[in-house]
Symmetry: C2
Subunit: 336 residues, 2 copies
């Protein structure tokens, strides 16, 4: 599929979906729509991913099949400054995909334009209608199930999941990411956005996801939120228990000391944080934190090496920055 | 309000809502509708609560304002064997209240009958439209916040909450229960059924509830589920963090060893379970388990005394069976 990705004034740091699509997706990104960086190319701003021109609006995008909303703001609201681009895309007959709490399908203008011009609206955050409570059966899955967890939101859990997938595939294993957020769903084309599911069914949704792929060697479940997060810890717990993992991988931003946006809540010491995850996992699947993933994007190369070493020591298990260094054998061995 | 309560073939053990209404509610219950026990009185089956005749169907109920569905089956589905009674109630112009996952308002026949005869349909499980993510502010509430938690679902958390309320009131304190389930909402007339909220907003819903009552001395937050439950632990976590409690009270059924309905999951040893709760609470509000509540309804009086003593020893804090013995000073002192 040929797509344009909308990321106004948010690329790359506040446009996780856009970055994920450019780095791990199977779609051909023909343009990034960002009025802030218009005129540049994607790799001028973010090296090492699929390149594409950055344009100011949908008017400047070449022919594409779909426009993907590549921003996931806190709260998930639709920003009215994106309306012109979505309108233009629909008038051109494109599909529009979004992972927002505000559904495109609830917007009368978008519904009308989609009908008139033959495009489709895809709300990636909309859960299936037939979810149920978990049955507690995810632990029976044959594949090795690895769940990524974090010290906060946006610590690289999705990135770590895809990097583990790629490293396992390089070893000849049949590995798949189990996507639980809008970016992962957008990248892979399947999954459930678990934080949108009603709370009673959240673990059940994860259980269904883990039981969906057949004959895999390794499933990497994308975690969400964090156990010490005052708002999102419930989702984290539902994924931790609903996936019944064999192993956990703890993701952290180097140097981060407080929960982002909730600065009065400090991130617990790492060894303590590991113990919180393991204590809570124990009654369901007895998983331990077997590896660490550190996001060192704010550091230079030398400091990054030191930071990974320090992180490794704090956790007592192999660690890596998966973006900078990939997933070395030692880390993959610890996980599998 | 004068009400009838529907509890077919479920009273009292599988009709928590009915029992709660009879024990703690302000409504006058004029009849319990239960084809199994028809002809008896409520107190023949369950001593120590508001009495009422038990009748076989809504046809035998004297004049009332409303029919309340007093059963909350696993999964929360509407049972078609209740349809005749709901139909009769609506034809008589009564309101109908239910805390099911299946909404009365989504049933065409009920909507039509309510409109025709002037009754109202109240889906107590339906959350407000304007919920948001938690802001992490519940800890700033002036009242002492006590959250009841459990080793499983149906361990008496709601009962414990109301008994603590009543004991605090007897001491002259202004105390209120913060209801998070359909029964508590039905009894008190306010609250949010948290397990029905989308997962991202569950902690936010609890935060809003805790911040709603003004000038209270004590708020007792009704917990849900259990941290070692394979399906409901996410809701438990959202309440634990969203309420930012000062104290936790652990509820348990004497002698229970496995999660009900998930028998392959054993309940962790009590001291370990306490530590799981405290470890997870620590990053948000540092609450500890300060008292225990034991449901000894399956035991005789002598065994109950022993069971409470054993429970107290396992937890290392004061304990009681609130139904049998109320909430003694020692327990209330430990909590407040």
């Amino acid at each position: 599929m040929q797509v344009a990705v909308l990321a106004h004034e948010s690329f790359p740091d506040r446009a996780k979906t856009a970055v994920g699509l450019l780095r791990y997706g199977d779609h051909e990104v023909r343009a990034l729509v960002d009025r802030e960086h218009a005129g540049k190319h994607v790799t001028d701003v973010l090296p090492g991913v699929q390149d594409a021109p950055i344009v100011a609006s949908m008017d400047d995008v070449p022919e594409v099949d779909a426009l993907l909303i590549g921003i996931a703001p806190i709260g998930g609201a639709f920003d009215e400054s994106w309306r012109d681009d979505v309108r233009t895309a629909l008038e051109r007959g494109c599909d529009v995909l979004a992972g927002l709490h505000d559904f495109l399908e609830d917007d009368d203008e978008f519904v009308r334009l989609a009908e008139e011009h033959g495009g489709e609206l895809h709300d990636l955050r909309k859960p299936p209608d037939d979810l149920t409570v978990a049955e507690g059966t995810a632990g029976e899955v044959d594949a090795t199930v690895v769940t990524t967890v974090g010290t906060d939101c946006s610590t690289g859990k999705m990135t770590a999941s895809f990097e583990i997938r790629d490293a396992a595939r390089e070893r000849g294993l049949d590995a798949a990411v189990v996507p639980t957020g809008q970016t992962g769903v957008a990248i892979t084309g399947w999954g459930i956005v678990v934080d949108r599911v009603i709370a009673d069914y959240a673990a059940g949704a994860v259980e269904r996801l883990v039981e969906t792929p057949e004959d895999k060697d390794v499933l990497i479940v994308e975690g969400q939120g964090a156990l010490a997060h005052p708002a999102y810890s419930g989702v984290t717990t539902s994924i931790l228990h609903g996936s019944a993992p064999d192993a956990l991988v703890l993701c952290h931003n180097a140097g981060q000391e407080a929960i982002h946006g909730y600065e009065s809540f400090t991130i617990p010491p790492l060894d303590e944080y590991v113990e919180i995850y393991e204590r809570l996992a124990a009654p369901i699947s007895d998983a331990t934190v077997d590896a660490g993933m550190l996001n060192t994007s704010a550091l230079d190369a030398a400091d990054a090496v030191d930071a990974v070493a320090t992180y490794r020591e704090a956790l007592g298990v192999p660690a890596t920055d998966p973006v900078r260094d990939g997933v070395p054998d030692e880390v993959l061995d610890a996980i599998l």
